[in-house]
């Protein structure tokens, strides 16, 4: 059975000039244990796909379906999708001054535990776990007291996203350009974090522009998204080919 199943998805972004169709019949299936990389030119709809799946306001689903473990996603509120096990690592994580990272993470883990009918973790154990995770991603635990992403560098924000991924342990992770803006060392740290998350039960959709990331996180499939559709799929060698030839030969 598939973990994520997106079928013939058409979606538009709401603009001042009315809705603009972006996704034009996108189909994607992710089975447990798989990592799918999605590449494609700027503006082809990669972030739109991640946003529509996670329920960001400002998009309209025109037709098609998306399910996670067989449950329809598209009618749900964003928090309900997260409670089902969907996770989006943002291309541009938001800064929220005044709400500390620790408080945010606790609110999040408590909500997810409640939704699953599990017990909420004890605060001391939880804080210890978070500090260890932060350390393992080369994030200074002092960051945890600051506002969510407040004053974080681009790379620190991306590592914070991966820390949340490891803490929340979703079923499916959508990673939107988690590698961009990272220096080589940070890239390795982030890739190592994603690999730690990978398991036979969960799945990863990795949006990236760079073949380089795929040296560290080896994908099972590589797809090319262009003009709102997947126009080519293959294995890791497709990424190498794209690196050498660009996208023009496909379109």
């Amino acid at each position: 059975m598939s973990l994520l199943n997106v079928s013939d998805l058409h979606a538009s972004v709401v603009t001042d000039d009315g809705p603009q169709p972006i996704l034009k019949g996108l189909t994607l299936e992710v089975k447990p244990g798989e990592v799918h990389a999605i590449m494609g030119p700027n503006g082809s709809g990669k972030s739109t796909l991640a946003n529509v799946l996670s329920g960001r306001p400002g998009y309209i689903v025109d037709s098609g379906t998306a399910t996670l473990n067989g449950q329809g996603l598209l009618e749900l509120e964003p928090f309900e999708r997260a409670q089902l096990g969907l996770f989006l690592a943002f291309q541009y994580p938001v800064e929220i001054p005044g709400v500390s990272n620790m408080e945010f993470l606790k609110a999040s883990i408590d909500s997810l535990a409640r939704a699953r009918g599990e017990e909420q973790p004890n605060t001391a154990t939880f804080m210890k776990q978070v500090r260890e995770l932060a350390g393992s991603l080369d994030l200074d635990p002092a960051f945890l007291k600051r506002g969510v992403n407040e004053g974080f560098s681009g790379g620190e924000k991306k590592r914070n996203e991966i820390m949340q991924l490891l803490l929340l342990q979703p079923k499916l992770a959508l990673l939107d350009e988690t590698d961009s803006g990272l220096d080589i060392d940070a890239l390795k740290v982030v890739a190592e974090g994603v690999n730690r998350y990978r398991s036979a039960e969960n799945g990863v959709v990795l949006i990236t522009h760079y073949q380089r990331l795929l040296d560290y996180i080896v994908p099972d499939f590589v797809h090319v998204l262009s003009n709102g559709k997947i126009i080519e799929s293959g294995d890791k060698s497709l990424a190498l080919e794209l690196e050498a030839k660009g996208y023009a030969w496909l379109t």
Partner: protein
């Protein structure tokens, strides 16, 4: 407009009767109360009841920490304070006239313990004089449940430092606080102000940078929920060179609340090298919140750096999506965001009480 019938015999010390340049005090007050500037300051709150209440009976504020070395508490004034300003605050001067006595606190040595002032009702005016080089922590709170007023003048001699925390979280039909701070050269003043709406709450703050290199910081968090009102009028004057002032005011206005913020920065001729910043952010939540915010800048010197910003907004959709995408439901996410907005301006020794009252939870340990 404001009908202030002054009593024929004012319990006014001679020095106060001598203040006006011309005419009798009642005439001068009358004039000030009817000036266009005064009308502007009382545009969003009816002044009548506040002005009339200046003659209500007064009680002494409760004062703690006054028996420390270097602290003297008296009931008279021997000379006018530099901050007395008839034109800017005729009502506050009127309260001085109606009071049978005032509270004068002279601080001539740095104290180990804070001076604590509590206003259990309509309290007598206070004058606080802090001597040169002296550091003082001032903790002020109001717990009046009836109509109440306070008027406080603070004079900081050269290089004095005052850290002033003030909580006005009480529920009263009406509450007016007048605060005047006068800073001489090199003096530092910081105010952490935490305020909830009440039937009609008014805070006037007048800070005068009257010596070179003085520094003032004002940080204020306010929440006006339901049928409550808050009107804050802040005037910050830079009269001398190289002063620095920074004001950060965050107010949440929810469910029919009404909030007015007027922040005036006045940089006088000759106040070169002044750095004045003011940021007022207002967050509207729920239905029918009324928010008035007006920045006013008067600058009569080149060579100043001045920023003055006021925003009125609602909860950021991007921030809300970020939190909800982590499984936090919408109501809880909105609560976190509004708490975060206020928490940025809640600080200092009275923060815990303010967090409980305004944010509904104590500070996170982490």
């Amino acid at each position: 407009m404001a009908d202030l019938t002054l009593p024929t015999t004012l319990a006014t010390p001679d020095w106060l009767a001598d203040l006006p340049d011309a005419g009798s005090l009642p005439e001068v007050l009358e004039q000030a109360l009817n000036s266009p500037a005064h009308r502007e300051r009382w545009k969003y709150t009816k002044p009548g009841p506040f002005v009339a209440a200046t003659q209500h009976p007064m009680i002494d504020p409760d004062i703690g920490g006054e028996s420390q070395n270097g602290v003297a508490l008296n009931q008279s004034i021997d000379a006018p304070l530099a901050g007395f300003d008839l034109d800017q605050a005729p009502e506050a001067i009127a309260r001085l006239c109606y009071a049978d006595h005032v509270m004068t606190l002279d601080v001539s040595a740095s104290t180990d313990e804070p001076i604590v002032i509590n206003h259990a009702g309509n309290t007598r005016p206070m004058l606080i004089r802090v001597a040169a080089g002296v550091s003082l922590t001032l903790l002020e709170s109001a717990d009046a449940s009836d109509d109440a007023q306070q008027s406080i003048w603070i004079d900081l001699a050269p290089n004095a430092r005052v850290e002033h925390s003030r909580n006005a979280l009480n529920d009263a039909p009406s509450h007016w606080q007048y605060l005047n701070v006068h800073l001489q050269a090199g003096a530092h003043y910081q105010l952490n102000n935490h305020v909830a709406g009440c039937g009609s709450r008014r805070q006037d703050i007048h800070i005068i940078m009257d010596g070179q290199g003085a520094e003032a910081t004002l940080v204020s968090a306010g929440k006006v929920d339901g049928k409550m009102a808050l009107d804050q009028q802040v005037t910050l004057e830079h009269r001398q060179p190289r002063g620095q002032s920074k004001q950060t005011i965050h107010n949440i206005v929810a469910n029919g609340g009404k909030c007015t913020f007027n922040g005036r920065i006045h940089i006088h001729e000759g106040a070169a090298g002044t750095d004045a910043q003011l940021s007022n952010k207002n967050l509207g939540m729920g239905e029918h919140a009324t928010i008035n915010t007006k920045p006013e800048l008067e600058i009569y010197t080149d060579d100043v750096s001045c920023s003055h910003g006021a925003t009125v907004g609602t909860i950021s959709q991007d921030a809300l999506f970020y939190l909800t995408s982590r499984g936090i439901d919408r109501t809880a996410a909105e609560a976190l965001l509004s708490q975060g907005f206020l928490r940025q301006c809640i600080d200092g020794p009275l923060a815990d009480q303010a967090l409980t009252a305004l944010v509904g939870r104590a500070r996170e340990e982490s």
